[in-house]
């Protein structure tokens, strides 16, 4: 059985697609068969972050409407052969997805893949509910900022009540906290919620802390998921996330601000 992981958050712009791309590619680099699904119907973007936007022919909704087969719609990643991407449709028909037809597609994919990573749209509307409905695990992507933390808590409520696992009374969705855009320096200065603060409030296990990093924008500019930038702090932090998803225990890095030299301490900069 494939592990179905939803990358979700409630709030927009916190790094869901960046994280989905990094997690999908990272798991595939470890040799697993992975399919990345963009659930943001009408606002397709995972293709851009993955750098395969010009290879989209058919999409998720085409498959659901029977206009294309899964194999026609899946895009094989050029970097890692065990990774495929199922792009979202650009249609504005929001009701294109329902539990039944999404369930069928996931079931079919589950036969061929080890991991199904679902990139959720923002919000708590039908699209986001569809993305989380079949999940076994959820990566709750959160920024250390009040509105993001509050929205994450609402999404945790949805995971616990509106998912398939909740409806059938099965073991609940396994929740993971992924803290993104973290700035240790601002935390030290008392300007930003710390990892511990967010853990206290949401009380779910921590999967990773991704530092605020210039590498993320560079990666999206180039269509190369940031996990490939092995020199960057964000890339390395995502690699740790992959290890933890695969059951390894890895120390958390990038939680302390870089120590400044005596000169910059005294004279600013």
């Amino acid at each position: 059985m494939a592990r179905i992981i939803v990358v979700t958050s409630g709030k927009g712009g916190v790094g869901k697609t960046t994280s989905s791309a990094a997690i999908g590619l990272g798991l595939a680099l470890k040799g697993h068969k992975v399919v990345l699904i963009d659930f943001d119907i009408g606002l397709r973007n995972l293709d851009l972050i993955m750098g395969c936007e010009r290879r989209v022919v058919y999409d998720f909704v085409n498959v659901i409407n029977g206009e294309a087969t899964l194999n026609q719609a899946l895009i094989k990643d050029k970097r890692v052969s065990s990774l495929s991407i199922l792009p979202a449709s650009q249609t504005r028909d929001k009701d294109a997805l329902n539990k039944e037809n999404v369930g069928k597609v996931l079931e079919e994919l589950g036969k061929d893949y080890d991991f199904i990573v679902c990139d959720s749209p923002a919000g708590i509307e039908a699209g986001a509910m569809m993305a989380l409905y079949y999940a076994d695990e959820a990566v709750v992507t959160t920024n250390p900022e009040v509105s993001s933390v509050r929205d994450s808590d609402r999404i945790l409520g949805m995971l616990a009540s509106r998912s398939r696992r909740a409806e059938l009374g099965l073991e609940p969705i396994k929740e993971h906290l992924l803290l993104t855009r973290y700035s240790p320096k601002r935390v030290e200065e008392g300007e930003m919620l710390s990892v511990e603060d967010v853990e206290d409030i949401l009380s779910i296990p921590l999967l990773g802390v991704i530092p605020e990093s210039q590498a993320v924008l560079k990666a999206s500019n180039a269509g190369e998921p940031v996990i490939l930038d092995t020199e960057s702090d964000a890339g390395q932090a995502y690699q740790d996330v992959i290890e933890r998803l695969l059951g390894e225990t890895v120390d958390f890095r990038f939680l302390q601000a870089e120590k400044k030299g005596i000169f910059s301490r005294l004279f600013g900069g």
Binding site: G157, V187, E189, G190, S194, D197, I201, R265, L266, G268
Partner: protein, 92 residues
């Protein structure tokens, strides 16, 4: 004026914005979780139905009857019914 800032910061231990953020979040999140765990929509109707059935056999006033759905630890939900029976007066 980094040097000056350094000493000023050490002296006055004022409340940081981060700690304000945490405090505000703890309050609002607790509040929202409470309203999320409120009684289910079907409870009023269920109450009516149970009362109807009970009243076929015994006399139950509204005051001597209470119903409560409680969330216990884990996934356990307990539906609690309290019916005060006075004396065995049969309706029929």
């Amino acid at each position: 004026m980094a040097l000056l800032d350094y000493f000023l910061r050490k002296k006055g231990k004022q409340v940081t914005t981060a700690s304000k953020a945490k405090e505000r979040l703890q309050i609002i999140v607790a509040h929202e979780r409470n309203s999320r765990n409120k009684q289910p929509d079907y409870l009023p109707e269920l109450t009516e139905d149970i009362l109807k059935v009970l009243r076929k056999y015994i006399e139950v006033s509204d005051e001597s009857f209470s119903i409560n759905l409680d969330k216990k630890e884990g996934d356990l939900n307990v539906l609690e019914l309290n019916i005060e029976l006075h004396d065995e007066r049969k309706v029929s």
